[in-house]
């Protein structure tokens, strides 16, 4: 209240041109409002009048934005541009009266109005008009402004070459009429509907600007197509399923704007929340909340333009996902963030989270439970359905030691395996000896190819690189070495973790950890026993 009073004091101070001290005005206002219980607007008017100022020039803190006006208000002060105004003669209880009805709008919305005693003819389209002490009623579930004999109105500013300003789509309220907006046609299709017993072809689709994208229906063919940027005048809005939709009626006008670009159109709909394990290729407009596990930023050249890109790993209780963001991302490792309006693209089957400047990012203060111990356990079947995963853990049995296992040579520059001493990229090179094991593992729900690095290969087989090298030289036969390794490891059960990708042949894991395990049987078996006994109804 304190600061509100200050604002009112400032309002009066500026109307009076600084002729009266602020402290004097404050004292007056306190007297009027505090002691005499006069309403703030009346008090201000009286004070300004007392000091010889124009009370009509007062506004600040008293007027409401159109969006804030509700039906059933007793005293409303508001001003706006006149979108249209039509004088009419009506007969009220046998008496002829001249009224003016029309529509005003500000940047937040539009409001139909009626001046019930309109004697003059001074209100024109485009005028900035102010109303005082008007009241609101309901018309089509929307407030309508009534200007009675107890109200006052005046034109604050005459229209001089007034051009109506287009509204931001996100500011369009339900049940507005005569809306002017500019937007890009995101999609458009047509269908035949039955309207009042007549077959009628209508067009529908999505239209959006930077602030929002909404559904539209056009009740006649305006000759618009996908990608057009249009200026629509005379549209009306409806709400369906909590969603604003705009309608282009027969009386609406549509103008194509060749020189207007809308580069970054907002995504359609409200983002829906998803947990990381549920992310699937093709998802759009989702909200993910997770902890930043790692993050790095780099500059990237995109079509001759330098853009900064942020990438890293995000984790929640269900799993981890790598992310790429094309926007400011002022967060650090360990912080919990909420990313809204993100989308999912897969790379080699692994879902990745993407976001850009149409997405919203915010720090989340509450503590988030994050997947423990790093990797998330999956059945291979679940990985197949998903297409892959970051840092997945599987427990599965080795059913084949694959070709490519054993001694290999790598290019010293790019680490690619060499063939007959040649690297695909660097030609003839002195290869560096390495030992790897490639496996097929299977858990009864599916199989995947697992690739082990030298360290894991040595630990699994109990053979060192040198030993493998010696065996290969002795036998001159890679097959024999594979057979030897196979005889040591086949049918062992492994717990493997790593990133899993998919290609045409199936799932591939590049293991980051590999342990031979004796899986727990008893607990699972007892549980299963009970479940089956139950279904037998014993």
């Amino acid at each position: 209240m304190e600061s509100d009073l200050q604002k009112h004091v400032e309002d009066m101070f500026s109307v009076l041109g600084g002729r009266v001290e602020r402290s004097a005005l404050e004292k007056e206002l306190n007297l009027f409002v505090g002691e005499y219980r006069v309403s703030v607007p009346s008090a201000k008017r009286s004070i300004v009048k007392k000091y010889g100022g124009d009370p009509d020039a007062l506004s600040l803190g008293v007027e409401k934005s159109i969006a804030d006006i509700v039906a059933g208000e007793g005293s409303v002060d508001v001003s706006g541009r006149v979108v249209y105004a039509t004088p009419r003669e009506v007969t009220v209880s046998g008496e002829k009266k001249r009224i003016l009805s029309g529509l005003i709008e500000d940047s937040t919305g539009s409001l139909p109005f009626t001046i019930w005693e309109y004697a003059s003819s001074d209100v024109e389209r485009g005028d900035l008009i102010a109303f005082r002490n008007a009241y609101t009623t309901t018309y089509r579930e929307k407030p309508q402004l009534n200007v009675s004999s107890k109200s006052r109105y005046w034109v604050k500013e005459k229209a001089a070459e007034w051009k109506r300003e287009a509204r931001k789509i996100k500011d369009i309220q339900p049940n507005e009429s005569n809306i002017l907006f500019e937007g890009k046609i995101i999609s458009i299709a047509s269908r035949v509907v039955n309207s009042r017993g007549e077959e009628k072809e209508i067009q529908y689709g999505l239209v959006g600007d930077e602030s929002r994208t909404v559904r539209f229906t056009a009740w006649k063919d305006f000759g618009i197509s996908k990608g057009d940027v249009v200026r629509v005048e005379g549209a009306y809005s409806r709400e369906r399923n909590g969603e604003i939709q705009v309608n282009l009626s027969e009386r609406s006008t549509v103008e194509k704007l060749a020189d207007r670009e809308i580069g970054s159109v907002a995504r359609f709909g409200t983002p829906r929340a998803a947990s990381i394990a549920d992310l699937r290729e093709g998802m759009g407009n989702i909200t993910v909340t997770g902890r930043v596990m790692s993050i790095s930023e780099k500059e990237i050249e995109v079509q001759g333009e330098t853009r900064s890109m942020v990438s890293g790993v995000l984790a929640d209780a269900t799993g981890k996902v790598s992310f790429t963001g094309w926007r400011d991302f002022p967060f650090n490792e360990g912080e919990t963030v909420r990313i809204s309006g993100a989308y999912v693209r897969s790379w080699k089957g692994v879902p990745q989270l993407k976001f850009d400047d149409k997405s919203e990012v915010a720090r989340e203060e509450k503590e988030l439970l994050v997947t423990a111990g790093g990797s998330t356990a999956y059945s291979i079947e679940a990985l197949e359905e998903r297409g892959g995963a970051m840092d997945a853990a599987v427990t599965a049995t080795i059913i084949e030691v694959r070709q490519g296992t054993g001694l290999i040579f790598r290019c010293p520059q790019c680490s690619r395996t060499t063939k007959l001493g040649e690297c695909r990229t660097h030609g003839q090179v002195e290869g560096v000896a390495d030992f790897r094991v490639r496996l097929v593992v299977d858990d009864g729900t599916g199989s995947l190819f697992a690739n082990l690095n030298r360290e894991m290969s040595e630990a699994l087989t109990g053979m060192t690189l040198d030993a493998v090298r010696k065996r290969t030289e002795q036998t001159l036969n890679q097959e024999a070495v594979i057979a030897e390794i196979s005889s040591k490891v086949i049918f062992s059960t492994l717990k493997l973790s790593g990133n899993v990708f998919s290609d045409d042949f199936g799932l591939n894991m590049y293991a980051s950890a590999c342990d031979t395990v004796t899986p727990e049987v008893k607990q699972g078996a007892v549980k299963l026993y009970q479940e089956v006994i139950e279904t037998l109804g014993m």
């Binding site: 291979i380 079947e381 359905e385 049995t397 059913i399 084949e400 097929v440 299977d442 858990d443 009864g444 729900t445 599916g446 199989s447 190819f449 057979a483 196979s486 005889s487 086949i490 049918f491 059960t493 045409d504 042949f505 199936g506 004796t518 899986p519 049987v521 008893k522 699972g524 078996a525 007892v526 299963l528 026993y529 009970q530 479940e531 089956v532 006994i533 139950e534 279904t535 037998l536 109804g537 014993m538």
Partner: protein, 293 residues
């Protein structure tokens, strides 16, 4: 796509007589089991009990038998399964082994189908490994039973319909094929098979004792008419209990012999066994065997 290694018991595999082809030029061959497993490759473990070899046109062919808690797998390995053949030659029976291989069918005459495994890999395994396989196989069999139950509840049983009931796609496809080919797979018998197989894992019978007691208590709390047995049923229940020494159930022929010895007519025997099955006092762990619950 590489074919996964399905886990299934010998009793389920050997009851299969349906080969199904799909994919480009019908290149993928599957044995569809009565529970809807789509078997191209399978992993089995058990006791290697016999190895034979014989000379064929295609070279030496090794055949072997591997027994699991429900029955016996027929295994073969020829000249193209060089390593599997060599391993088989070097194992002394009996031994716990694991075999991964491709499902094969053999039809010596119209209407008769035998299934076997063409081995890709064979190796000796530990008892712990074999027990883990039994557990995995029970788990997968139970999932197939659920899928099959869903398929049998649907008319017609389509893969889409079954998948909509929350069943994995692969299982749903198999269950739809099985439901169309096999008429009325006896799911209770397969459930019994799973229970028996789980009991064969050391330590499980003791651990489940409590669970059994709890279940029995529940059924005692809600007495059903099924608890009143006829005289013939009571006699048969005793016979089945006495004959069931192998833990795999009493052989049907032995039951009939024993019942006849007690002056029961074949009709009475059949009726009594039906009654016991209905009242949930016995079940068929495997076709042709009866077991007390």
């Amino acid at each position: 796509m590489r074919e996964m290694a399905v886990r299934l018991f010998a009793a389920e595999f050997n009851s299969s007589d349906y080969e199904h082809r799909e994919g480009e030029e019908k290149s993928s061959v599957y044995v569809i089991t009565p529970l809807g497993a789509k078997v191209n490759r399978l992993l089995v473990m058990g006791v290697l009990t016999e190895i034979d070899s014989r000379d064929t046109e295609g070279g030496k062919l090794y055949t072997a038998q591997v027994t699991d808690p429900t029955g016996t797998f027929r295994i073969s390995a020829g000249q193209y399964q060089e390593y599997a053949s060599r391993t088989l030659q070097n194992i002394e029976v009996p031994a716990f082994v694991a075999v991964v291989g491709k499902a094969r069918t053999y039809s010596p005459e119209e209407g008769t189908v035998y299934v076997s495994i063409r081995a890709e890999e064979v190796a000796v395994v530990t008892q712990e490994q074999k027990d883990y396989w039994i557990y995995e196989t029970c788990r997968e069999t139970a999932r197939r039973i659920s899928a099959m139950k869903a398929a049998m509840d649907l008319a017609p049983p389509t893969a889409e319909g079954i998948a909509r009931m929350g069943v994995n796609r692969r299982l749903a496809e198999g269950a739809a094929l099985a439901a169309a080919h096999y008429r009325g797979t006896d799911l209770a018998a397969y459930r019994g098979m799973v229970v028996e197989a789980l009991r064969s894992i050391p330590g499980i019978e003791e651990a489940t004792g409590e669970a059994d007691a709890a279940v029995r208590e529940r059924s005692a709390a809600s007495p059903s008419p099924g608890e009143e047995l006829t005289e013939a049923e009571q006699q048969l229940l005793v016979i089945i209990g006495e004959l069931d020494r192998s833990t795999r159930g009493a052989e049907w022929d032995d039951i009939v012999d024993a019942a006849r010895a007690k002056q029961l007519a074949e009709e009475q025997i059949n009726e009594a066994v039906e009654g016991l099955l209905d009242k949930g006092m016995v079940y068929e762990p495997v076709l042709g065997r009866m077991k007390r619950i």
